[in-house]
Subunit: 381 residues, 2 copies
């Protein structure tokens, strides 16, 4: 977990690996680790690639780590072949990805003083955490990266979903990182005695919420596309077995690459609510939380990932990322793309997270070949 002793120990281990690979390593003022290998062309912008090594409580061993270790391995391969690229190569290890893409936000857009006072899972504030990792909050703006310094950003990551496994594909070419919306739905009915209130005299908020959840699921599945919507949290009030609930509050998390699809879901949620209101007499209200924008991946880079995979004889599949990644921050300042490899059972954020050694090798090879293709072609092809 970011900003813990384990995080610092992991970073020290990775930092040594990077140095051993021949990279010139530094910690930027945001607390990110950067390892650089100069290119042959003076003043050329760097090809940046990497991921993160922090994890979630009770998390797995692949989320983030696969991208960082494969990036180091790609550099080691070039060094062992005595092969130098035209562009400088930079491997980045973003700090505190799991706590809100903190390192990449500091690199791409910065964070306010207020945002830095937020307490992370470790119990430290972001401000304290950055210092703990060897950054310097007062000078954090120096970690901001200009477009002119950077040719592109590439990230290899496990899918954290089951699409590649189900389809039997090895390399996922990420189309973009979905936009996430979240709404808190309040259903108001009328609390009443569960024994004395006949079934047809009730305004049962629980029944209305359940009907909504069932119809929402049906609607989301019936629409063409890959949108997802989830009721993850629910509470009934007063919450006693012998009282018909007068109020139920639940969350909807819904995601898609297309803003138009999310707008359509918003409409449908309200339509379903109106229908259930008529049937149950309960009333729905919606409290919308701030949304994250979708981050589309660069078309040129996506083509080069596919070409690299083809060259390696690896099957590919285009898909969106339903989870957030540092790449969505980097896409704000530089052409960005992501490579996915299969997650067994789609399981993630769990000790059961697993990707086969073969697939990790395939992913690392695809990453290296893409880096070389970008190095040859630049971003103008």
């Amino acid at each position: 977990m970011a900003y813990t002793d384990a995080d610092r120990q992991g970073r020290e281990y990775i930092l040594r690996l990077m140095q051993d690979a021949g990279l010139e390593v530094r910690i930027d003022t945001a607390g990110n680790i950067l390892g650089r290998r100069e290119g042959t062309e003076a003043g050329a912008p760097a090809i940046l690639f990497g991921s993160h090594i922090d994890s979630v409580p009770n998390g797995g061993n692949y989320d983030g780590d696969v991208g960082v270790l494969s990036s180091i391995e790609a550099v080691r391969t070039l060094v062992s072949r005595n092969e130098r690229t035209r562009h400088p190569l930079e491997v980045v290890v973003f700090q505190n990805e799991e706590g809100g893409l903190i390192g990449s936000k500091l690199m791409a857009t910065g964070l306010t003083d207020e945002e830095l006072n937020r307490v992370a899972n470790s119990g430290k504030t972001l401000r304290e955490g950055i210092g703990f990792l060897g950054g310097d909050v007062a000078r954090r703006e120096e970690a901001r990266r200009s477009s002119s310094q950077t040719l592109c950003y590439l990230e290899l990551h496990i899918e954290q979903g089951g699409n590649l496994e189900t389809l039997g594909k090895t390399i996922g070419v990420v189309e973009g990182i979905v936009s996430l919306r979240e709404v808190e739905v309040t259903v108001d009915g009328f609390a009443n005695h569960a024994g004395t209130t006949p079934m047809d005299h009730r305004q049962d908020a629980m029944l209305a919420a359940a009907q909504f959840a069932v119809e929402m699921n049906r609607m989301v599945r019936a629409m063409p596309g890959r949108q997802v919507a989830t009721v993850g949290r629910i509470a009934a009030q007063p919450g006693a077995p012998n009282v018909v609930p007068g109020r139920v509050v639940f969350s909807i998390d819904y995601r898609d690459l297309a803003v138009a699809t999310l707008d359509r879901l918003d409409e449908q949620f309200h339509d379903i609510a109106r229908k259930v209101e008529l049937e149950t007499g309960a009333r729905f209200s919606f409290d919308q939380h701030p949304a994250s924008a979708p981050a589309l991946m660069n078309d040129g880079l996506r083509a080069m990932i596919a070409e690299s995979a083809d060259g390696l004889g690896l099957s590919t599949h285009s898909l969106p990322s339903g989870a957030g990644h540092d790449a969505q921050q980097m896409a704000k300042i530089t052409p960005t793309a992501m490579i996915f490899i299969p997650s067994r059972g789609g399981i993630s954020h769990s000790p059961n997270e697993y990707t086969s050694p073969e697939d990790v090798v395939h992913g690392a090879n695809a990453l290296l070949q893409t880096v070389l293709l970008v190095d040859q072609n630049g971003m103008t092809r």
Copy 2:
């Protein structure tokens, strides 16, 4: 609330009213208040009638009180008419009805030492509460009432439901007090990332629980009869908006007068669960709590209540009681019946609880006339 200073003050007030009505008042060893007026026939068993005056937190002014005050008024009426019954009359004020029918249990079947150690809402144990009200726990068996001492038990109460109001009827003739069953249902699916797990790869415990709740409601309403079933409590695990719930636990409270109907509901719950399991891949398990048996009211007494109401020109309606009452304990040792009067909007256990003064008068008159009819006819008619 039972065993509070307010409870004691209310009881002192009621005790004075009973004495002023000419009753010989005592507190039994269980803490119940009993007021007796002797009859003309030596050794005849007593006609017992009454209710309770304790309430729930944030409760109303009618639940229980209407029955106690009407019982005292019935005696005052006889005294003012200088009319003496053949059988002794006994007005009873049961202690702590809302906390689990404590006073009537002690009178009907007794409570174990372990049961007396339970902490009531006041913070006192039942044991302490009985002492607080002037009872004597060590001698509590003396409060047990034999069948030979008692001709019958009658209780006037507000309906706590909306049937009489909806039907425009004044006097409810209670058929019986329903059996209550409660089951805790656990739905096990598979917790997964709400962003990366496609809709058709989920084992969503929340969706399965919602489907169950919707289909259960439909089934219960489609069955002939007056059975009720309620999902009053629900919790999703892990309960984060961005995680497909891996487990959902919810309660079902279901009630009916007929054990066969409850058995049928049990079967149907399992049938619905199996159907939802097939559709969602989630698994259901049921943890059944101890059930209360139904308490059927005495047919002869019910006929006399209806006859009394007819004689007063009051409309009647037969219905079950969905809520528990002291009468269900008394039914174990003596012929028992209940008279209901309308609750506005069916509202109960709320400051909005209301019954019109006219309906209270109708109820008290029906109670008095029933007492007189029983006194004339005995229980053999």
